[in-house]
Symmetry: C2
Subunit: 310 residues, 2 copies
């Protein structure tokens, strides 16, 4: 199997766009009639509804985009039944040709970090969850990243390390300036080192970076700092960032970044621009419309234009 | 129900010691005859063995200590079956009077952070996993901690924020100096603010700090910096720290800190000093001996001595 970075590059080129669809299946936002009615509905019923919803999203987006990003928290919230359907959703998406990045933001040290990586990363049968890549938090330092990198490279899987996050409070510790550089630049340097060491044929490595769309200038600065790192860019749409804001995340070929939208796509039927046309009963058509709109925006206003017809 | 900090204070006083037993059930370290034999044994078989082992540890330590700390990674590694037995282990421990701190080191923002907290924290029936407290990572900043704090205080549960970790690489980002202070001191200041806001009758808050035993001087300095924060102190035993090293984590009454040992207790039957006396078949007696030895050490060389007969 090719390494994760090459598989991601191939998938983005094949689809001709860098859209990453986030699967954040909040039970309270599911289309009417799908979610269990009672407030106290048991976890199995909720997990069943979440499963139906997520597979329905996958059916729509699989022909359009390269990858999906299930958010572990919304599955864990549903307890053991949620974790069962998380494995199902991952497998279903992969069978339809999607790469799956499990957004788990795990972090620990030594054998514990290796246990997280072992469980999350690897094709079905090789690991418990079978994701192609996952997200990790860097606070515990280099010896906390190392076991994740080791397992990821052994299994041709990928990692995205939190570098500069899209939330307003992200700056509290990430922007502290030490030795003339904000903390997130120190993290970026470590990520670039690991990315370079694990670079595939596409030039990018198994280790990438999470860099928020809400900081366009830092995106550009960090693109230069981490030439071998794929960027996972959250914050598009619901968090206010536009295609122009994320343009700096790409290289000259239109590669190097995948841009995530979660609520803006999967719950598009609730957005003003789609609610009238589709409504809850035609929520899958709203998912398709929102995905196509995001693809168009990124093809118009970013170097991702060069992925197609170039 | 009293708040988490008061429940922890009461439990530590009742037991007369600050020992926290870490449940890190690595399948490859289980006593002979307990783990599934085949390398490729399925996850259900492995989870079954882990369950038997963890309940066996709980049986031994419940009469001796205040709390246990299951390490989420080793359960997640076993996929959905592992997550089923994690819920069982938490419930079993609580039924035997133990407080349960799920070591999950989660972190995210907004509704995602709230989903993690909702799933992990709360008594059985109130949340999917039903833990009394959990660990969280601070890299994402104050608006990532806030949802955890909100859910925790609503449910009389607790949090421990990573501040200064026990691993050698922990310093890479935590020790960077910004505005004259290492990053971990900036995190400590935020933790103290949240701890003070949530203080119970014992004087400590719902929000505590993870501070490694391997840095005795920083423990003392951080004790002064965070007078309202319970400390969860890893690194004792297997990572080389002694009772004397952790003395600075306590207040004058012997409260304020719980000291974790995982492998040193649960896999004590493999330690030189216990292997000859007990061996694999009497592994539970080794757990008891190691727990009692750690209690004695902490009662001899730390202010925890004042918890008993004082």
């Amino acid at each position: 199997m090719p390494c994760f970075s090459d598989r991601l590059a191939a998938a983005v080129r094949r689809c001709g766009n860098p859209v990453l669809v986030g699967l954040d299946p909040r039970v309270d936002l599911l289309p009417e009639g799908m979610a269990p009615q009672a407030d106290g509905a048991d976890l199995v019923a909720k997990a069943g509804a979440v499963s139906v919803f997520c597979l329905g999203v996958v059916d729509v987006v699989a022909p359009l985009v390269a990858a999906v990003k299930p958010q572990a928290a919304f599955f864990e919230q549903l307890g053991p039944p949620g974790m069962v359907i998380l494995a199902d959703v991952i497998q279903y998406a992969q069978e339809r040709g999607l790469l799956v990045i499990l957004d788990a933001k795990r972090n620990d040290i030594g054998s514990t970090a290796a246990a997280y990586a072992d469980g999350i990363l690897g094709s079905q049968g090789q690991s418990a969850w079978g994701a192609d890549a996952t997200t990790v938090s860097p606070y515990l330092g280099d010896d906390s990243l190392e076991p994740f990198v080791r397992v990821a490279t052994e299994r041709d899987a990928g990692l995205f390390v939190l570098v500069k996050t899209s939330n307003p409070g992200g700056g509290l510790f990430q922007d502290l300036v030490a030795d003339g550089q904000p903390v997130y630049r120190h993290v970026a340097r470590q990520v670039e080192k690991l990315a370079e060491q694990t670079a595939g044929q596409c030039g990018y490595g198994a280790v990438g970076a999470v860099v928020g769309a809400t900081y366009p200038e830092q995106l550009q600065e960090l693109r230069a700092e981490m030439p071998h790192a794929w960027f996972l860019v959250p914050g598009f749409g619901a968090q206010g960032a536009t295609a122009r804001d994320v343009a700096g995340a790409f290289d000259q070929q239109g590669l190097g970044a995948i841009v995530n939208s979660s609520r803006g796509i999967i719950f598009a039927y609730q957005r003003e621009e789609y609610a009238a046309a589709f409504g809850a009963s035609r929520w899958q058509e709203a998912v398709e419309a929102a995905t196509r709109a995001m693809i168009d925006q990124l093809r118009t206003d970013t170097p991702a234009a060069r992925l197609v017809g170039g």
